[in-house]
């Protein structure tokens, strides 16, 4: 429970604040239109459909303002950088930006539905009022025309009885923009469903750009000013007195003809700021993309893994961060994220790219055709993004657990630890590292095994065998693996990885592992870091709690749930 508060408390608080603002806006504007005296005559025509349309409109204004902000990743990086002083929990919220974006999107969808239904009713009832179906007051109000000679201004935007609601909607700015942007919204939502997004990211990404139409239409949606309110007249029109006798308006001094005017459109005031910010964000991405990136080294690793070592001036990274790569020769518009596998201490940054889809396959085949030592295709790099995982260096003893593809950020971390260790960097308090690598099969990760091998050799040379203890768990073993292992039982190095440390088969017995770490380090603070599936996170969290001792002289385990 306490752990939940530590991990999720701030997020829950932010969502609660956001929801509270939504509720406040809804209720405030509902009451404003439901009880405001200037809308009394408008309500005569529309009933409660007026506030039911205006309240979600206010919530929509607020949420359309918010929706662009979580996807400005460069802006978020900037904020994260300047918040280095504040706690990690604050910075971690910035990593949940996409979750927030989706939440705001759901709210926009819901409010759009309410708003649209309410306006459907409004249009129908305006039309009915003009026909006189709601009594003499409504009828008289509706006949008021925009006429300087008669000194009248209209209240009912439907001016003629031959207009059907459909025609009315498509001939007003508000109606037309409303239909168009709702359509854009629906297309955006259906192409953003998880099934489509995970399988065909391009459809999702390109359709999502309909948001440009959405915002353009949104800004002009209120330009027609068809929601009218009553204006002050001189002498003032006494509603209470005059509403029962619409026939005598303009004939007695207490009841001059009521005047109406449309409300000033306000949506643009809400969204113009974020629109400009987002424009700057895209411009920044473009500028970064134009900056030259040169290849320091290109290595084709076994199992169709490509290692690219790139150099970009002014590029600074932290451990565990990722970059977006764009290769115009393959696709002009696609940006793909890759975790960096190099350490910040190196003067280049590297990524290991597996062949998993058509973009990566094309890249690898292009690179394979290059001459020896040639420069690769022009590449745009945006980033780095992501939480820096510097906490790893703060613990005396670290347990690092990487599952499957989650091992990639640990390449960066291990290299960085190694550099810090060699330079005797005082920031590095780590004395021992236990690294657990879980994967189904080692295909596509041989490069990581190579990395471990290099470390292993270096540490033996320095007589520091205890610094790094790593265990590889092959969870996808079968009979042939077991047979092979049995036959080569007494070889010095492991048959799968070539490492001195033998491969284990199956999942780790965490109880035993934690027990051993506790025995080896009787009075240390141990930090546990995981990059892997949620189920494993829950297991490790429980073990950390189980094996921690309240006694400060004994071992304590801290679990850090990271999403690299």
């Amino acid at each position: 429970m306490v752990n939940w508060i530590i991990n999720h408390g701030l997020s829950a608080f932010i969502v609660a604040v956001w929801m509270a603002i939504n509720i406040f806006l809804f209720v405030h504007f509902y009451l404003f239109y439901d009880q405001g005296p200037q809308f009394e005559y408008t309500r005569e025509l529309l009933g409660s459909a007026l506030p039911w349309a205006r309240a979600p409109a206010a919530v929509l204004n607020f949420n359309c303002m918010l929706i662009l902000l979580p996807v400005c990743r460069n802006l978020l990086s900037l904020i994260r950088g300047s918040f280095m002083c504040c706690g990690r929990t604050v910075r971690k919220q910035l990593d949940k930006n996409l979750t927030f974006h989706k939440l705001v999107a759901y709210m926009i969808a819901l409010m759009t539905a309410v708003h649209t239904v309410a306006h459907l009713l409004n249009v129908e009832w305006y039309s009915n009022s003009l026909d006189g179906r709601y009594g003499p007051l409504a009828g008289n109000l509706s006949i008021l025309d925009d006429s300087p000679e008669l000194n009248t201004t209209y209240l009912n935007p439907i001016r003629s009885t031959s207009t059907t609601p459909t025609v009315f909607v498509f001939t007003t700015i508000a109606g037309l923009t409303g239909v168009v942007i709702t359509l854009a919204l629906i297309l955006i939502i259906t192409s953003s469903m998880e099934v489509i997004r995970r399988s065909y990211f391009e459809v999702f990404w390109y359709t999502h750009h309909l948001f440009i139409i959405f915002f353009a239409g949104l800004v002009f949606h209120g330009a027609g000013r068809i929601v009218r309110s009553q204006q002050e007249t001189d002498p003032p029109h006494n509603n209470e007195l005059c509403e029962d006798q619409p026939g005598i308006w303009g004939k007695i001094p207490e009841c001059p003809i009521p005047q109406f005017a449309g409300g000033f459109p306000q949506t643009w005031m809400w969204v113009i700021g974020p629109m400009i910010i987002y424009l700057c964000e895209r411009l920044l991405r473009f500028i970064r993309y134009m900056q030259p990136v040169s290849y320091r080294k290109i290595v084709i690793r076994p199992s169709k893994v490509l290692e690219l070592q790139l150099v970009k001036s002014g590029f600074k990274m932290e451990v565990g961060q990722y970059v977006f790569l764009n290769c115009p020769a393959i696709s002009q518009l696609e940006w793909h994220p890759f975790t960096m596998t190099s350490a910040p201490e190196e003067d280049f940054f590297s990524v290991h790219i597996r062949s998993v889809g058509d973009w990566t396959e094309k890249l690898i085949s292009m690179v394979e055709k290059l001459p020896e030592g040639g420069q690769g295709p022009k590449m745009g790099v945006d980033g780095p993004f992501g939480t820096a995982s510097e906490d790893v260096f703060d613990y005396e003893v670290s347990m690092l657990v990487g599952a499957g593809i989650g091992v990639t950020p640990f390449a960066s971390i291990l290299k960085s630890i190694w550099y810090k260790f060699k330079d005797s960097n005082p920031k590095l308090r780590t004395k021992r590292i236990y690294f657990y690598w879980l994967c189904r099969e080692t295909h596509a990760f041989e490069w990581f095994a190579d990395l471990l091998q290099v470390h292993e050799k270096e540490m033996e040379e320095r007589g520091m065998r205890d610094f790094l203890t790593y265990k590889l768990y092959l969870t996808g073993w079968d009979q042939s693996h077991a047979d092979h292992a049995m036959v080569h039982f007494d070889k010095d190095t492991d048959i799968i990885t070539g490492l001195k440390q033998k491969t284990h088969y199956g999942r780790p017995n965490w109880d035993r592992e934690f027990e051993q770490v506790r025995q080896d380090n009787p009075s240390s603070v141990v930090g546990t870091f995981l990059c892997g599936p949620q189920a494993l996170a829950e297991v490790l969290e429980k073990k950390c709690a189980k094996y921690s001792d309240v006694d400060p002289r004994r071992t304590k385990f801290y679990f850090n749930k990271e999403n690299f």
Binding site: L120, V195, G357
Partner: protein, 186 residues
């Protein structure tokens, strides 16, 4: 762009369109709008489209994710055979269903969404896609003891009994050496 199965997006769009069509229809009928008959049609058409589109098709490549509880719908849709399998028919059906919605404001949005879904289905049909039911997988019954190696059927080949008896003075010609005697008369 990666090879996309258009039918997947068309399915999402059509399902959403069905819901919007039905909702617009409900508003039209409940509010007793003029032309509420079109709204009533909208409800019927919307519900029908939802039922038709709820079961997802099996993907040609990759794993298919079912919608919750879609199996009963799959069985119904499967029963219509080629009518539901072919996407040209579906595209035409959606195009026909969306026309009456255009006559009334409340159902206009649902109508346009359904028309777009119809176009995407047309694209899917042109690309040669078709609807496949997702059926529950029947696991092959596990054969017990598959890993246990079969015991041998025949005894190992042995030399004839004369050679098997150990001759003390001629150990090399004996087929093998017995630690204890095997014949009763030695």
């Amino acid at each position: 762009m990666g090879k996309i199965e258009w039918a997947m997006w068309a399915n999402e769009q059509a399902l959403a369109a069905g819901l919007i069509y039905a909702t617009g229809g409900i508003v039209g009928v409940a509010g007793q709008f003029r032309g509420w008959q079109f709204a009533a049609f909208g409800i019927a058409a919307g519900v029908f489209v939802c039922l038709l589109e709820y079961p997802r098709s099996k993907r040609a490549k990759g794993t298919s994710v079912e919608r919750t509880g879609q199996y009963c719908f799959t069985a119904c849709v499967k029963a219509f055979g080629p009518l539901t399998r072919n996407y040209y028919i579906r595209a035409f059906l959606h195009a026909a269903l969306c026309v009456p919605g255009g006559f009334m404001l409340a159902t206009v949005l649902g109508s346009v969404c359904l028309a777009i879904a119809s176009l995407i289905y047309l694209s899917a049909a042109i690309h040669g896609e078709h609807w496949e039911p997702i059926l529950p997988r029947t696991e092959p019954p596990k054969r017990v003891g598959e890993s246990i190696k079969e015991p041998p059927q025949n005894p190992p080949p042995r030399p004839p009994p004369e050679l098997r008896r150990k001759k003390v003075d001629n150990l090399e010609t004996a087929a093998y050496d017995n630690p204890m005697s095997v014949t009763s008369n030695e």
